[in-house]
């Protein structure tokens, strides 16, 4: 393995590594903890749980978020559920199985030891959330209920209606509020981190912009935790919230933190199709719907034509003329194949001319059979709020006619590279939740992001961060007056000044939309060498144009256009890195599909001999080609094999 990428995986059998780590990790006494400051950026599941737990332990925590309240972090929108290996259903689940499913679901591109730890911790998370008063769904005996998600043959997903993320986040927000009340955590809302400050090679603070006053602030600490979420909005249209961004991670990348597997982005199969150019974001229809919904398109092109013209309704098409293509191609998993597989299968049908909306970019998700089998009441109890949401947006009733869905950008498996302790290549910078690259390989299974975010925040960072800080106890409070803080602040001010002084003719949103088109077209669901090269060129041109022609009002205080401009400027650079990484990875795996590398029946074709590694990029300066480092993945506990959901 390369010297710069020490994964620090503890020795011993896989099932004992985490226990061994905890047994030997260094501790800090309470009096010293009070003297140590920690900055947590982000209040989603990862950030809120980390900040709350670190506060409980006695550290001095400062927590930051963009929104007006920590409760509004993007995690709030997660719908379907959270996985855990409880085996409450007695259907054969175990830590081992959750581990294997996750490694396999990720198409064997994740680090085994991390994934095992995640599966191990999954059960603690459920217990913790129940204790906090998270109202998970229960059966009449009063026990916790489960549902199934893609990529698994057991029912291990815990849920709170279709609002699981909301309930888990409110649990973590409650824990955070408790610590704010006690005074161990200090909350900074409407703040955006714009740079990481390094002092003598260690992460020692951040530069943040106060989004209400426009002030540039310095905040110092002994360590920094980044829990700033994923970068799906690089595609402009995605299921992510509007403020979701890649900037915090990107700025850390430019300060020496390696960026790992940027091209591993996830396209979710079941989203409401794009309606028009004005659209600002896409709405997810939870994966849980695939428990009971069946996906199909008409078998005959004539029917497709007539549907598009409005001459035929989907319910008029007899069973025999429908192609339930997932059930046909993957009889073992049927509609519950992993997301990447389901998304590509939808694209394949639509590319072949079977798409059912005007644009030819939609397939049906049909509940008629479920309503027959279970009754409308049961279906409503399970999915009522999702059906309502759909009806609200599309103005069609999914109890009467099948939903129309299409894949959309949803999640990013890539992120800042971290070792087993969740520490990046910058000492003292830890990364948690969707912002890191760690556990999902090339494809995340449904209901595993919530699990990972809370595992990182409640149960991993509190140990590993303590281990790091144990040799910092003699370090006095970090001053914000140092030359390093001064330089970082100046750089941020200059950058803002430069953007404001362009005074061009095109809005930030317009540039973002154009970037999104390039990314979706050439770096989306199917990638090809020629297209990727083209994307790199197009993005370079777009960047140039942006810095010559972007129009940002020069306002004091609130300046939303400036906020967006800073994010889009980073998205363009990140988009280029995604394309480069996709170009380099001459194989198909998980969410990364290279047209040149597929099996005869169109499945992703991995190349373990040459690409069994994590790609980690080191920044080399503006407009320089980044340096690629490779962390080879050792599979000792699971056998590397071609995924098969047939």
């Amino acid at each position: 393995m390369e010297e710069k990428l020490q994964s620090k995986i503890p020795s011993g059998p896989i099932s004992e590594k985490w226990t061994n780590y905890k047994d030997t990790q260094r501790l800090i006494n309470p009096a010293n903890k009070r003297r140590l400051d920690v900055i947590v950026v982000g209040t989603g599941l990862a950030g809120a749980s980390a900040a709350a737990t670190l506060g409980e332990l006695g550290f001095n925590v400062k927590v930051f978020c963009i929104q007006d309240s920590p409760r509004r972090a993007h995690s709030i929108a997660a719908q379907g559920g959270i996985n855990a290996a409880k085996n409450y259903q007695n259907d054969g689940d175990s830590v081992r199985r959750l581990f294997e499913d996750t490694v396999k679901g990720g198409d064997y591109r994740a680090r085994e030891a991390n994934v095992y730890r995640l599966a191990e911790i999954s059960n603690n998370i459920i217990d913790q959330c129940v204790a906090q008063g998270v109202p998970f769904a229960r059966d009449y005996a009063g026990m916790l209920a489960n549902r199934s998600f893609g990529g698994a043959q057991v029912s291990r997903t815990f849920y709170a209606k279709g609002q699981t993320g909301q309930q888990l986040l409110l649990g973590a927000y409650g824990a955070l509020s408790k610590e704010i009340h006690k005074g161990t955590v200090k909350l900074f809302t409407r703040r955006e981190m714009l740079d990481l400050v390094l002092v003598e090679g260690r992460a020692r603070g951040i530069i943040a912009r106060n989004l209400e006053t426009g002030d540039i602030e310095r905040h110092a600490a002994h360590a920094v935790v980044l829990a700033t979420g994923g970068y799906g909005n690089v595609f402009f249209l995605s299921t992510n919230a509007m403020a979701s961004n890649g900037s915090a991670a990107w700025r850390c990348y430019k300060k020496g933190a390696f960026f790992a597997n940027p091209c591993f982005t996830q396209i979710h199969p079941t989203c409401i199709p794009v309606h028009g150019d004005f659209q600002s974001k896409l709405t997810l229809m939870s994966e849980s719907l695939r428990n009971d919904g069946r996906i199909w398109v008409p078998k005959r092109k004539e029917d497709v034509e007539r549907i598009r013209k409005g001459e035929l309704r989907p319910i008029d098409i007899p069973e025999a003329d429908r192609d339930y293509y997932l059930e046909r191609r993957y009889p073992a998993f049927g509609n519950l194949v992993p997301r990447d597989v389901a998304s590509r299968a939808a694209k394949e049908r639509c590319d072949a001319g079977f798409g059912v909306n005007g644009a030819g970019l939609a397939v049906y998700l049909d509940f008629a059979e479920a309503i027959n089998r279970l009754g409308a009441k049961v279906v409503e109890a399970r999915y009522g709020n999702l059906f309502e949401m759909y009806q609200n947006i599309v103005a069609e009733n999914p109890y009467e006619t099948p939903m129309m869905i299409y894949p959309a950008v949803h999640y990013t498996m890539g992120g800042l590279w971290v070792d087993y302790e969740l520490q990046s290549t910058v000492p003292g910078l830890f990364v948690a939740g969707e912002a890191n690259f760690s556990d999902h390989g090339a494809n995340r299974l449904g209901a595993s992001a919530l699990m990972q975010g809370l595992a990182d925040g409640y149960f991993i960072l509190p140990y590993t961060l303590q281990n790091y800080l144990s040799d910092q106890i003699r370090e006095p409070r970090i001053s914000i007056e140092s030359a390093e803080f001064e330089a970082a602040e100046c750089k941020v001010r200059d950058e803002i000044e430069a953007l404001l002084s362009v005074k061009g003719k095109e809005t930030v949103d317009s540039f973002h939309r154009r970037l999104g088109h390039v990314m979706w077209e050439y770096v989306g669901m199917a990638r090809e060498k020629s297209g990727l090269l083209k994307a790199i060129d197009l993005i370079a041109d777009l960047r140039k144009e942006f810095h010559q022609n972007v129009l940002i009002p020069n306002a004091f205080g609130v300046n939303v256009e400036l906020e967006k401009a800073l994010r889009v400027s980073d998205f363009m650079e990140l988009g280029e890195l995604i394309a480069r990484d996709a170009l380099q990875r001459e194989e198909s795996c998980g969410g990364h599909f290279r047209v040149e590398h597929q099996t005869a029946d169109g499945e992703a074709l991995r190349d373990d001999e040459h690409f069994n590694f994590v790609a980690a990029y080191e920044w080399q300066g503006e407009n320089e080609t980044p340096c690629l480092y490779k962390e080879t993945l050792d599979f000792e506990s699971v056998e590397l094999k071609q995924r098969n959901y047939k």
Binding site: T53, E56, Q67, D68, S69, P70, R71, R72, H74, I76, A77, Y88, N124, I126, D127, C129, V130, A131, Q132, G133, P135, F136, A137, R138, Y140, A141, G142, M143, L144, Q163, Q166, Q167, G174, A175, S177, K178, L187, T189, E212, A241, M242, H275, G276, F278, Q279, N392, I393, A395, Y458, F459, K505, T507, D509, S510, L551, P553, G557, V558, V560, E561
Partner: protein
């Protein structure tokens, strides 16, 4: 579709606000209300004017950020929906639409249509949680919870903290918001332990922050995007009143 918008513009917390008229044209019926405002803002930016500031994030009715008072009603005329889930097809072509911020003493305007709702966070900080710490908790199935109670707790817990209840109330009371949290946790065995203490602490904070009294007009329930029922207020009152007698809470507790 074309619309005339009368929008509240206010430069900052201390400035005086006023309505400004804007025309928007070529709006598609499938646009959301916020997407219509995006169109307006893009025009304003291109004309060199200051865009309208409004809070939003998830745009799917769950984060609680969006908070517009449209034609005299929080979140406009949709029932059980947030502003971001309001589609232009619900308006008449050519209509004049009045857009204001949520107004309440405890929600000062920051700029234009955006208000400061940190008072809600402060109410939660006063006690809107179970005081357990991470780790050392029993197995998730160790304490059984009747399904009916779990479901009712879920209904209360679906509050998104948008503040529509406050904006709709003539007294600007936060009673429904507080009741939703108190009720959720009082219904569950895990939260019951400190239910009375929680009710007293949260109500005290609500009063301190300048929210008004509840006079049972139920305007809150009518506009709640998550259709949270005023029956939770009864449960809050029960916890509050018995608490005052059985386990009185003092601020320094």
């Amino acid at each position: 579709m074309n619309f005339t918008l009368k929008i509240w513009r206010q430069a900052n917390r201390t400035a005086k606000g006023h309505f400004v008229d804007y025309q928007v044209s070529d709006i598609e019926p499938d646009m959301s209300f916020l997407e219509m405002l995006d169109v307006l803002n893009e025009h304003l930016v291109l004309k060199g004017e200051d865009p309208v500031f409004f809070d939003h994030d998830c745009r799917e009715g769950i984060c609680g950020a969006c908070s517009l008072f449209i034609n005299g009603r929080p979140h406009g005329k949709g029932e059980g929906t947030t502003t971001c889930q309001l589609y232009m097809r619900r308006f008449k072509d050519g209509e004049t639409i009045v857009v204001e911020p949520f107004r309440a003493k405890a929600f000062p305007v920051i700029k234009d249509l955006t208000v400061d709702r940190s008072a809600f966070d402060q109410i939660i900080q006063a006690g809107g949680y179970v005081s357990c710490h991470t780790g050392g908790v029993p197995d998730g199935n160790a304490i059984l919870v009747p399904k009916e109670d779990a479901d009712m707790a879920m209904d209360a817990a679906s509050c998104i903290g948008c503040g529509a209840c406050v904006a709709a109330c003539k007294n600007a009371s936060a009673m429904l918001f507080v009741a939703a949290k108190v009720s959720q946790l009082a219904l569950l065995p895990q939260g019951k332990v400190e239910a009375q203490r929680r009710a007293q602490a949260m109500v005290a904070k609500m009063d301190e922050l300048g929210f008004g009294n509840c006079t049972n007009t139920y305007a809150c329930q009518a506009v709640c995007p998550k259709r949270i029922s005023v029956s939770h207020i009864a449960r809050l009152n029960r916890q509050f009143l018995t608490g005052k007698i059985v386990r009185p809470w003092k601020k320094e507790d």
